[in-house]
């Protein structure tokens, strides 16, 4: 049957069952359905990402990082204040030494003047 040449009926069947083209716009409608699925896929990804970000573990990680930043800032400010206080103390000491030196010189000058008078 299938290896023999087709008879009239079979030729007529081939004619009746020849391939039909899909309706106009078939491909456009098909492609129109694909992007929606891609969009849905992306929306799903976004949703999954959001739920991932909002997991308790990640929330704790973010809070810990924020605490480290704040503590570092406090430490840096404390060191800056200590540096400023040290420089002020050094300046006061230098002033005190200069005044003391001037007084000692005046005393020395008076002592020298008294020795000359005697």
């Amino acid at each position: 049957m299938t290896n023999e040449p087709m008879d009239d009926l079979e030729r007529q069947l081939s004619e009746a069952l020849r391939r039909k083209e899909p309706p106009e716009g078939f491909e456009d409608r098909l492609w129109g359905r694909l992007p929606r699925r891609r969009a849905g896929f992306l929306a799903g990804l976004s949703s999954r990402f959001q739920s991932f970000v909002l997991t308790p573990r990640l929330r704790w990680t973010a809070a810990l990082a924020m605490a480290v930043v704040v503590l570092s800032a406090i430490e840096w400010r404390h060191e800056a204040r200590e540096r400023a206080a040290g420089q002020a103390a050094k300046a006061q000491l230098e002033l005190a030494l200069r005044i003391t030196s001037e007084k000692l010189q005046k005393i020395q000058e008076r002592v020298n003047a008294g020795n000359r008078d005697q």
């Binding site: 049957m1 299938t2 009239d8 009926l9 079979e10 030729r11 007529q12 069947l13 081939s14 004619e15 009746a16 069952l17 020849r18 391939r19 039909k20 083209e21 899909p22 309706p23 078939f26 409608r29 098909l30 359905r33 694909l34 699925r37």
Partner: protein
């Protein structure tokens, strides 16, 4: 090919388009598992055939009509006669689902029984039996009008 199989099976353009679009969307999702063009063609024929049969079995919109109950053909015109083609298409609609698919795959897709058997997942002798019985019934209908 996909739309045409569905159309010849269902004889409804909108349903055929619906099935064809679903088949191509399924192909889009399955592309990674299909390696060659021949594999894609085989896959499309198989999935389209299965979807057509599933659709008819689920919906049962159109009850099957025995071939003997279909209208008699009044003339047997030249092979390219559109009227004759429509009559043959109507006669094919009276066939049960599997024999109808076998006929479509044989005479639309020009496939051999072995290929049809692989697509429809049935023994080759069953395919040959469907072909033989369907052709015999169609031929008897034709002889009555000659």
């Amino acid at each position: 090919m996909v739309f045409s199989i569905a159309y010849h099976f269902l004889r409804d353009r909108s349903l055929a388009e619906e099935i064809a679009q679903d088949v191509f969307l399924q192909l889009y999702r399955s592309l990674d598992s299909l390696e060659t063009e021949a594999h894609v063609t085989f896959w499309l024929r198989r999935v389209t055939s299965n979807r057509c049969v599933d659709y008819v079995r689920k919906r049962r919109r159109r009850p099957e009509v025995a071939l003997e109950e279909t209208p008699e053909l009044r003339s047997f015109d030249a092979p390219a006669d559109p009227f004759m083609s429509r009559k043959l298409q109507a006669l094919l609609q009276s066939l049960p689902e599997k024999p109808r698919l076998v006929m479509i795959l044989r005479y639309q897709e020009d496939l051999m029984p072995e290929e049809i058997a692989r697509i429809l997942d049935m023994p080759v002798r069953t395919v040959k039996s469907h072909l033989h019985r369907s052709l015999t019934m169609l031929r008897e209908k034709m002889e009555r009008i000659l």
